[in-house]
Amino acid sequence: MSERPFLEVKNLVKYFPISSRGVFFKKQVGVIHAVDGLNFSVDKGTTFGLVGESGCGKTSTAKAILYLDPPTSGHIYVEGEAIGDIFKSKSRKEILKLRRKMQYVFQNPYASLDPRMTVAGIIMEPLMIHKHVPKNKWHDKLYELLELVGLEEYHAERYPHEFSGGQRQRICIARALAVEPEFLIADEPVSSLDVSIRAQILNLLGELQDRIGLTYLYISHDLSSVRQISHRVAVMYLGEIVELADTDDLFKEPLHPYTRALIQAVPIPDPKTKRMKSMLPGEVPSPINPPSGCRFHPRCSEAKPECRKRTPKLVQVGPNHLVACHKYRLNIHMCAHV
């Protein structure tokens, strides 16, 4: 892996201010620490999974990466280029060039398609904006895209309400692919779909990666679909990455207590698996006042006094395996002394 990664995220921070409801003045009374210092990179042609419970900052991360909701601080590099500078320069040409590279498939296919546009209009809109395909080729491109995502030509004249959830998600994917992107952020693309349709969409994403070499950032709270589709996975908790590893390593040998609890909490469709007796107590704390030290310590069964005081850093514990937990830092510390 000497090649430069496609996407690099360095120290990404996203805070949302909370304002009091004053009559004349808005006063900032606090901040929501949605994303707090994220570092990761995504290699070209691979799928990077981002897992966590609701409110842990997965979607905020994705929106910050695309500057749909610009980050508070931090840097994002796409093929070595700092994209923050491009968005700040406000050069429409440059921004469009970037947008063509990176696209987004939104969480809810029922809300992300304009109900008053036909499928043809929806899919051709990016072509009109980016003008990367000559006008007489637009319809060819449209039919090519429809075929790519497994829809029929006659679907082009229909409206979104005539489609089922799975088909809508295919339209969203076709729209994102219209600009021939290299990178696709898929934000819970299957969470609102039925089980029999989920498999179709997951397979489609996999096929597209094989055929056109797409790079994905796959966001989900569903660990089994992440296991199916990702090459590398980051587990998030309250705006921080707690564990980052190759998919097989992570699921075979989860190191962080949170990752372990998360994997154990997934109901396995096999009546013979032993159900765990001990489970994660409590709930995710508020990101307005996150707990001190390790943010997971109030729910962690292995918490020590140290966890309350100091924030653990993400450290390497194996090849391509990083964990943010004092337990492992201590082990390495001891090894170094021996």
């Binding site: 089922s164 029999s196 498999a199 660990l223 109901p267």
Partner: protein, 344 residues
Amino acid sequence: MKLMEWKLMAPKELLKIENLKTYFDTFAGLVKAVDGVSLEVREGETLGLVGESGSGKSVTALSILRIVPTPGKIIDGKIIYKEENLLEKTENDLQKIRGKEIGYIFQDPATSLNPVFTIADQLTEVIKRHQNVTKKEALKKAIELLRLVEIPDPELKIWNFPHQLSGGMKQRIAIARALSCQPSLLLADEPTTNLDVTIQAQILQLMKNLKDKLGMSMILITHDMGIVAGVADRITVLYAGRVCETADTKTIFYNPLHPYTNALLTAVPSLALRKEKLAVIPGTIPNLVEPPSGCRFHPRCEYAKAVCAEKIPPLEEVESRHYVACHRALEIDLESPLGAETNE
């Protein structure tokens, strides 16, 4: 011999639904949401009602209490609860059953709790309605209920409004409300769908413990095969308003006879191992205004033959308490993704 007899005699049927039909007369046409569903729940048993959206799971549960929203109507069938047909009862009699004999946990705790009343109001309302107690006693009982569903500081939390509580807490309140009169049957409609996995595990464990503690029967509605695997004793699989298969949990998972049951099992990504490609059920869920003729699954079924499009397969008992509605159930050899059952 005595023991055998006792075993055969002991589990009594608590609820039996026969050929239930609930239709919705809409502008688009007559939607046959539930079209001939039959199932049974025995005392102390948990029945998992599994199916995708639009398969009629919720409407079946709503029909039991006769609270199907308009324009829905129960057209035909029998719902026999404790040897009495609920469909023949008067509205007044039914109100004595709702909440007291049969508890209901609705799908979305955020919308099933009233936002303008405190938790205390909403819990004592049910208790006062069904039990002859004073306001003070009802409040005491409500606090006891919150303790039962493991809510910390129940004396304080009871004065909260629903918006002050998290999703998991709201679901615990909904469970407390459903259990407030110690029902014999609990209907839980996707009780964990909007919750995170760790919270889901907490709620499922809580429901399982409470069910054993209070000795209730339960119908758990879900689309997640993982959840029923851990909680249900028996499973009924619904597809497009009809029952495909009913059997005990192990049989459903290891020796399914209906192609749809097997497809549901294979289409789910697994945590244990990554598959090269997920098995796919082609097509989409049928429109219930004009459902497919014959077996409703036939357009998506890889084993379908001419007869499947023509005749409706009857729900037949192929083994003891294993019911299947498929013309070819005994001809085809389905292989469960979990492998055949081994008696270890």
